[in-house]
């Protein structure tokens, strides 16, 4: 129930932030931000309820995973919003969080008993870190799209309606760098905890599970991106394109593996 209420607020927020993109009125901006905050609170309550009911973090099937992903996206978005106060950012990310919550909120599911393999206190730590990292990359994706849009206009000397609404390249690039750094740290910690957990329960750090492989691939992409920035000063458009590619790989890893490939990361298909 709580999840449906949260979805309702996200819907309101999505409509308002898309309208805000077209008509940048203060009232619309405030509406979408307030409904996102309220939706986030409801979403949090829903997660706590599920946690209490199941006795562990509710992230053990596809729907729960999507729901938790949506929650972490909104969390990181709100943190960024209160730090940078760039309202237009919401128009690029809220719809994504809303879409991610559609399936879990509308199609009912049961939280199954955990397989003995997953019954561990590692679960919460590992999954939270990994999802927060993914959410940071989702934000980086949104910021990169904004950057590409703005950069194109400045480069091609063709100015559309978005030119005035979007922030400056410098701000976008700076935000992007910060978010990717944070996402990379979280992903790294998520992978380390995952490896330690695998070592403790399965005997070796790496199992060759598809989720692990794809996580490594994403990790390499973002590592290369950060490395290029530090060494040769890669920035701007190239970074933005890399961040978009990185997120595409990440989404593929998340959806693709869930839907088509067997992995012990998703016990319902295992």
């Amino acid at each position: 129930m709580m999840l449906k209420i949260a979805l309702g607020f996200y819907l309101l927020s999505t409509v308002a932030c898309l309208l805000y993109f077209v008509f940048p009125k203060k009232l619309l901006g405030r509406t979408y931000l307030v409904s996102a905050v309220v939706g986030f609170l409801c979403h949090s309550v829903a997660l706590v309820q599920d946690y209490v009911r199941a006795g562990h973090l509710p992230v053990t099937n596809f729907q729960e995973g999507l729901s938790f992903f949506s929650w972490t996206i909104i969390l990181i978005f709100l943190l960024l919003e209160f730090r940078y106060r760039i309202l237009i950012l919401g128009s690029f990310i809220i719809p994504l969080a809303f879409a991610a919550l559609l399936y879990p909120a509308l199609v009912s599911y049961e939280t199954k008993e955990l397989t003995p393999l997953l019954q561990s206190s590692w679960l919460g730590v590992h999954v939270t870190l990994a999802f927060l990292g993914d959410a940071a990359f989702a934000l980086a994706f949104a910021i990169s799209v904004m950057y590409i849009l703005q950069e194109y206009q400045l480069k091609a000397h063709r100015f559309g309606a978005t030119f005035r609404k979007l922030p400056s390249l410098e701000i976008l690039d700076g935000m992007n760098h910060r978010v990717i750094t944070i996402g990379f740290l979280l992903l790294t910690l998520g992978m380390i905890t995952g490896a330690l957990w695998a070592r403790a329960s399965l005997g070796s750090y790496l199992q060759g599970d598809p989720r692990e492989i794809w996580s490594l691939i994403t990790w390499v992409i973002y590592a290369a991106l950060l490395h290029a920035r530090l060494t040769v000063g890669w920035r701007g458009r190239r970074t933005a394109i890399m961040a978009i590619v990185g997120f595409a790989v990440l989404v593929f890893a998340f959806l693709g593996i869930n839907l088509f490939i067997s992995s012990y990361h998703y016990p319902e298909r295992f």
């Binding site: 400045l154 000397h157 030119f163 400056s168 390249l169 410098e170 920035r235």
Partner: protein, 429 residues
């Protein structure tokens, strides 16, 4: 009493004519004194290089308009028949709308330019100092100022840069968020490029470097801007710490090429650069724009930015016109209420007069009544007056169609014999 406006502007008259009709600010007091006359008791003269207009509140529109036209023609020293076709005359709501549009810079040659409001404020100050404005024009002009303010805050009409130098600042702010850590380099000299540099500095740029083929000229300019001069032969060495370049030299060939900038960018670790090439022939190789993190604009690119901004201003002007129309409505309602006010005053006076007379007659005749009882009688008389007034006043205030209101006023005048109250005490029946 109608409000009228007579004038000519860049839309109706060529500059040769405008400059003859136009009058300097300092001449306004004399001019107002010349214009003020029985047909034009209240007037404001607005005179700028693009328009000369007289706004007046006259007892009779036609006589007022003729007087103003003759006055303007006489001042110009040109035959009346030669000037007359260039005048536009507006009356009533059209005149109100026009002055609101002028004050909001909607009628300007460059829509949204900010000077006109100040010029109109001066015109009004001069007129009111000369005692040429009454209740209506005072109110109208103050309303025009507030409409202009509304237009400025509620539309984006003035937000779009329409000059090369402001366009440069606008673009710089979309590339760099904050100019306070940025260095600007001015290569060559020229009015437009110096203006652009000045605007960038005004918007917080940290440092300005100036270079010129003639070093002494660079030093001169640098002093003027409190900037540092660099030798033209060495300017490429400073590019690594330069974020914004404004170039306008007379060089027949490119002074900066693709490969040079590529090297500089590498050394700058790809920190973005904004280059403005105002020179014709161009100073900066257009191929530079193909490099990542460099944004090169030549004079045509900037002109294109300005052209689209002018389009944007026009769009905003449409919104502004809606505001103006709404405000014209508000002002007209106020004007209408002026018609009712004297009637209300008359009616109240008439009834008060009756009350006082009747009290004066009755109270002395009452013997043996206490002060308290006298008070009660007085209170009753007041209450009766107020009760009788209530109905007609409500009806007057509620009636907002002017023809039916005039009927109502006539009826009330007849019933209460109001015309006579002015002349003397009413006849007793």
């Amino acid at each position: 009493m109608p409000i009228v406006l007579v004038g000519l502007s860049h839309k109706t008259a060529p500059v040769e004519l405008r400059e003859k009709v136009c009058m300097p600010d300092m001449a306004l007091p004399d001019q107002l004194a010349r214009l003020k006359s029985p047909p034009v008791p209240e007037c404001v003269i607005v005179s700028t290089c693009n328009r000369v207009e007289v706004l007046a509140h006259c007892p009779e529109a036609h006589a007022g308009i003729t007087a103003i036209k003759q006055y303007l023609a006489a001042g110009s020293g040109i035959a009346f028949s030669d000037v007359e076709p260039h005048f536009y005359t507006l009356a009533g709501s059209k005149a109100i709308q026009h002055i609101f549009r002028v004050a909001s810079s909607l009628d300007s040659m460059m829509v949204g330019e900010p000077q006109i409001l100040g010029q109109i404020k001066n015109a009004f100050a001069a007129a009111s100092k000369e005692g040429a404005t009454g209740v209506v024009l005072n109110r109208l002009m103050h309303k025009a100022f507030s409409v202009a303010k509304r237009v400025k805050t509620e539309t984006q009409i003035a937000r779009y840069a329409v000059s090369i130098s402001y366009a440069a600042v606008e673009l710089a702010k979309k590339i760099f968020d904050d100019l306070s850590e940025k260095t600007v380099m001015l290569i060559g000299a020229g009015e437009m490029s110096e203006l652009a540099a000045r605007h960038l500095m005004d918007h917080g740029a940290k440092r300005l470097l100036v270079t010129n083929r003639t070093y002494s000229r660079a030093v001169e300019l640098a002093e003027e801007f409190s900037a540092s001069a660099i030798r033209f032969e060495d300017f490429t060495d400073s590019l690594i710490r330069t974020d914004i370049i404004i170039s306008s030299t007379g060089s027949p060939t490119y002074i900066l090429g693709h490969q040079q900038v590529k090297t500089v960018l590498y050394e700058r670790r790809n920190k973005p650069m904004f280059m403005i090439d105002i020179a014709v022939p161009r100073d900066l190789d257009p191929a530079i724009n193909r490099l990542s993190n460099v944004y090169l604009y030549d004079i045509d690119d900037l002109q294109a930015v300005i052209d689209t901004n002018i389009q944007e201003r026009r769009k905003e002007a449409e919104k502004a016109d809606e505001i103006v129309l709404a405000e014209v409505g508000t002002f007209e309602r106020w004007l209408d209420s002026l018609d009712v006010t004297p009637m209300i005053v008359l009616l109240r006076e008439r009834l008060e007069q009756i009350r006082e007379e009747e009290l004066a007659r009755t109270l002395p005749r009452l013997n043996g009544v206490s002060k308290k009882e006298k008070k009660a009688v007085e209170a009753m008389a007041s209450a009766i007056v107020n009760k009788i007034l209530h109905g007609p006043l409500q009806a007057l205030k509620a009636e907002n169609r002017s023809d039916t209101r005039d009927q109502l006023i006539e009826i009330l005048k007849e019933i209460f014999q109001l015309e006579q109250t002015r002349k003397g005490p009413p006849q007793k029946p």
